[in-house]
C-alpha cells in the first residue's frame, strides 16, 4: 500500500513540477506598443487549408494584414475545424471576453449562438456568414452579416462551361444540397442552359462535405456519362479534381482558386474575396459603427471574382460572352436564378 501511495505522490509532484517549470512568468507582460494593433479572431468550421470555405476567409485576413503593415497593425487569431457548434460558441465568447476587436463567426450554423453572445459584448464587432441576418430585428447592433451570391459566378461559369463543352454534357459534383453549394449549383445549371439550350447538366450530391473518395467516384461517373466539363463545391471536391486531371476533363473551381491543384485542367474559378468587406468593416468600426450591415458578395462589388487560368485558354468569343454575362448580372438584366 505504502509503495502505491508513494508512487502516486511522486507522480503528482513530478507533474506539478513539470507544469510549473514550463509555466511562463505569469502572463506575458503586455508590451505597450505605440499603437495597439487591431485584434481579430476567426472561428471556422473547417481547416484553413481546405481550398474552399475557410481558407477563403483566412487568407483574406492575411492579405489585409499585409496591406495594413503586418502583425503589429493587425493581429489574427483563429480556431479551425470548429464543426461542433457548442465548441465554436465557446470560442466566440472566449475571444470576445479576451478583448478581441472583431470576432468572425464563419459558419451559418453559429448564428443562434452568436445571437446570444453578441449582446453581452456591446463593444465587440461580430460578423457572421453566410447569411443576410444581422439580428437587427432583435435589437442587436454589433453584428455584420455577409453572404456570397454564389449563383452569380455559378451562372458565369455555367455559361463558359456550356460553350466550351464538346460533348454538350456538364457534370456538377455537389456535397449537400444546401447553403451556397445549392445556390452555386442552381446558378451554374441555369447559366449553362441559357447559354446553350439543350445542354445536359448532370448534378450529383454525395451527402457529405468531406467524403473525398465518393466525390472522386462522382466525377468518374460524370465523365463516364459523357461530361467533359466538371465543377463542384466544398472541400471534398479535391477528389473530383484528381479524377478530372487523370481523365482530362476540364474543371471549374468554386469558393477558392483551385488552379494550383491541377494547373492543366482548371479553366476558371469563382473566388470569394472577402477583403473588400473586411476593409469596410474595419473602417466602419473606426467610425463607430460596430455592425448592422448585411454585405452581399457580388460580381459588382468585387466580393466575387472570376479568375481564369492562363494555362487553359478560353476561346476569345466565349470569354467575350462571359464578360457580357457578367455585365448583365451586374446591371440586373440577367437574373442568375430561374
Amino acid at each position: 500500500m505504502k509503495s502505491v501511495l508513494s508512487r502516486l505522490l511522486m507522480l503528482v509532484v513530478l507533474v506539478a513540477l513539470l507544469l510549473s517549470a514550463c509555466a511562463p512568468a505569469a502572463t506575458p507582460a503586455p508590451t505597450q506598443a505605440p499603437e495597439k494593433p487591431l485584434r481579430v479572431a476567426i472561428v471556422m468550421p473547417s481547416s484553413i487549408t481546405d481550398m474552399a470555405f475557410s481558407q477563403g476567409m483566412y487568407e483574406a485576413w492575411v492579405k489585409v494584414q499585409q496591406e495594413m503593415g503586418g502583425p503589429s497593425k493587425l493581429e489574427i487569431a483563429y480556431s479551425e475545424n470548429m464543426f461542433k457548434v457548442p465548441d465554436a460558441a465557446a470560442a466566440i465568447r472566449d475571444y470576445a471576453s479576451q478583448g478581441y476587436d472583431i470576432v468572425i463567426a464563419h459558419g451559418s450554423q453559429y448564428g443562434t449562438s452568436l445571437a446570444q453572445i453578441a449582446p453581452e459584448f456591446p463593444n465587440t464587432t461580430f460578423a457572421w456568414g453566410t447569411t443576410t441576418d444581422t439580428f437587427a430585428d432583435q435589437g442587436i447592433k454589433n453584428v455584420f452579416a455577409y453572404n456570397p451570391a454564389a449563383e452569380q459566378g455559378g451562372y458565369v461559369l455555367g455559361t463558359i462551361a456550356a460553350l466550351m463543352s464538346k460533348t454538350g454534357v456538364l457534370g456538377v459534383c455537389g456535397p449537400v444540397e444546401a447553403g451556397d453549394a445549392k445556390t452555386y449549383v442552381d446558378g451554374f445549371k441555369y447559366g449553362a442552359e441559357q447559354a446553350r439550350p439543350g445542354v445536359k447538366v448532370q448534378v450529383t450530391y454525395t451527402g457529405s462535405f468531406s467524403d473525398v473518395s465518393l466525390m472522386a467516384a462522382a466525377a468518374e461517373t460524370h465523365i463516364a456519362a459523357g461530361a467533359d466539363m466538371l465543377t463542384g463545391s466544398s472541400q471534398s471536391v479535391v477528389g473530383a479534381i484528381g479524377v478530372a486531371k487523370e481523365k482530362g476533363a476540364k474543371w471549374f473551381g468554386q469558393q477558392w482558386d483551385q488552379t494550383s491543384l491541377a494547373p492543366d485542367i482548371v479553366v476558371a474559378n469563382q473566388v470569394y474575396d472577402y477583403t473588400g468587406i473586411i476593409k469596410d468593416m474595419i473602417a466602419k468600426r473606426k467610425a463607430g459603427t460596430l455592425g448592422g450591415v448585411a454585405y452581399t458578395l457580388t460580381l459588382e462589388n468585387g466580393g466575387l471574382t472570376i479568375k481564369y487560368n492562363d494555362r487553359v485558354p478560353v476561346p476569345p468569343e466565349i470569354k467575350a460572352k462571359a464578360d457580357e454575362v457578367i455585365k448583365g448580372i451586374i446591371d440586373g438584366t440577367i437574373k442568375p436564378l430561374p
Binding site: C22, A23, Y78, F83, A90, S108, Q109, T112, V176, E177
Partner: protein, 359 residues
C-alpha cells in the same frame, strides 16, 4: 484484523478510481513534447487547458454543458455494454432524437410548455429507442452483427437529417433570404430548457442527465430486467440455462441504449442549440463510448467520467486558442489520453487479481 482490511479495501477502491486520472498526466507529458516540437510553450498550453476547463464560472458551465450529452450517451452505452452488445450507433440515435423533438416542437408550437416540453423529450427518447431497436431486432431475429448495423444506421440517420433539413424542415426564413442553410426554424420558446446560470449555456438538461444516471443505476442493479440484462452480458450461456431469453434482452439493451442517445439529442437541441442543424451530434456518439468506459461502465461512474472528459475537451479547445496550435493537436492529445487511460487499467486488474489470490 477486520478493520484494517476494510481500510485497505477502501483505499484499493480509491486507487482504482483515480488510476485513470493518473494516466492523464503521462499523456500530457507526451503532449508537451509534441508542443515543444510545434514551438509552443507547454506551460502556457496546459495552464490554458486547466483554465479553459475550470478557470471561470463560464468555463465550468461549459464543461458541464459538454458533459451532459456525454453522460446521457454514456448511460446508453453502459446499458448496452452491460447487456453484451456494442452500440456504435450513438451518432445516428442522437440525430434522430433531435430531429423528432424538433419536428414535434415546431408542429405543435401553440401547445403550452408543460405539455410540449416533456413530450418533446419523450418523443426524442422514443425515436432514439426506435433507431436502436432496428439493430436490436436484426440481431435478435436474424443474427445481424450490431457493430455492422449501427455503423450503417449512423449513415442512414445522417442522410435522413440532410434531407429533412434541406427540404421539409428547413427554416422558412432560409428560403426567403435565399441563403438555404440546412437548419430548422428556432424552436418555440416554451420548449427551451431553462438555463441554470444566466449568460451561460448551462441548462436543466444537465440535472436531468444526473437523475437519469441514478435511475439507470437503480434499473440495472435493483430491478429484475436490469439484473437479466447484466446476466446476459456477463455470461450468455449461463443466462440461457437460467431460462433468460438472451436475444430479447440483448435487443432490449441496445434499444435502451438508443433511447438515451435519443434523449441526448433532444436535450442538446432544446437546451443548447434551440434549433436543429447539421453537425448537432458532434461526435458525442463516439466520445460517449469513451466516457462510459472511463466510468468503468457503471452509471454513477459515468457521471464524473463525463465531466472529466468534457472538461478535457473544453480545455483543449481553449489551449488551441491560447498557443494557436492546429486543432489537430487536440485530437492527437485526446487520442493519447484515451490510450494511456485505457492501458493503465491493467494495474488495477492485476491488483484485483493479486488480492483474490490472497483472500
Amino acid at each position: 484484523m477486520p478493520q484494517r482490511s476494510e481500510i485497505k479495501r477502501i483505499l484499493n477502491q480509491v486507487f482504482e478510481a483515480i488510476l485513470p486520472i493518473m494516466a492523464v498526466p503521462v499523456a500530457l507529458i507526451i503532449g508537451a513534447l509534441i508542443l515543444l516540437l510545434l514551438r509552443a510553450n507547454p506551460g502556457v498550453a496546459f495552464s490554458a487547458l486547466v483554465q479553459g476547463a475550470v478557470g471561470s464560472t463560464f468555463s465550468v458551465t461549459q464543461t458541464l454543458v459538454k458533459a451532459t450529452p456525454l453522460l446521457l450517451v454514456g448511460l446508453g452505452i453502459t446499458i448496452a455494454f452491460r447487456g453484451g452488445v456494442i452500440n456504435i450507433g450513438g451518432e445516428g440515435q442522437i440525430i434522430v432524437g433531435a430531429l423528432s423533438a424538433t419536428a414535434l416542437a415546431l408542429s405543435f408550437s401553440q401547445w403550452p410548455g408543460v405539455v410540449l416540453l416533456p413530450l418533446c423529450l419523450l418523443v426524442g427518447t422514443l425515436s432514439g429507442a426506435l433507431w436502436g431497436a432496428v439493430p436490436g431486432v436484426l440481431k435478435a431475429r436474424l443474427g445481424v452483427n450490431e457493430i455492422l448495423s449501427t455503423i450503417m444506421m449512423n449513415a442512414i440517420a445522417l442522410q435522413l437529417s440532410n434531407y429533412l433539413l434541406r427540404g421539409p424542415m428547413i427554416d422558412p426564413a432560409e428560403i426567403e433570404a435565399g441563403t438555404r442553410i440546412a437548419q430548422s426554424a428556432l424552436l418555440p420558446r416554451q420548449v427551451w430548457l431553462p438555463r441554470l446560470v444566466p449568460q451561460t449555456l448551462l441548462h436543466a438538461g444537465s440535472i436531468l442527465a444526473v437523475v437519469m444516471a441514478i435511475l439507470v443505476y437503480i434499473f440495472l442493479w435493483r430491478t429484475t430486467i436490469g439484473y437479466r440484462i447484466r446476466a446476459v452480458g456477463l455470461n450468455p450461456r449461463a443466462a440461457r440455462y437460467a431460462g433468460i431469453p438472451v436475444p430479447i434482452y440483448q435487443a432490449l439493451a441496445i434499444t435502451l441504449g438508443g433511447a438515451f442517445a435519443g434523449l441526448a439529442g433532444a436535450v442538446e437541441v432544446m437546451g443548447v442549440q434551440r434549433r436543429m442543424l447539421e453537425g448537432l451530434s458532434g461526435g458525442y456518439g463516439f466520445s460517449g463510448i469513451v466516457a462510459a468506459l472511463f466510468g468503468n461502465l457503471h452509471p454513477l461512474g459515468t457521471v464524473p467520467a463525463s465531466v472529466l472528459f468534457g472538461g478535457l475537451l473544453v480545455g483543449a479547445d481553449k489551449m488551441q486558442r491560447a498557443v494557436q496550435v492546429p486543432s489537430a493537436f487536440v485530437d492527437t492529445l485526446m487520442g493519447l489520453i484515451v490510450l494511456f487511460v485505457v492501458s493503465s487499467r491493467i494495474w488495477a486488474v492485476r491488483r484485483a487479481r493479486r488480492r483474490e489470490t490472497y483472500e
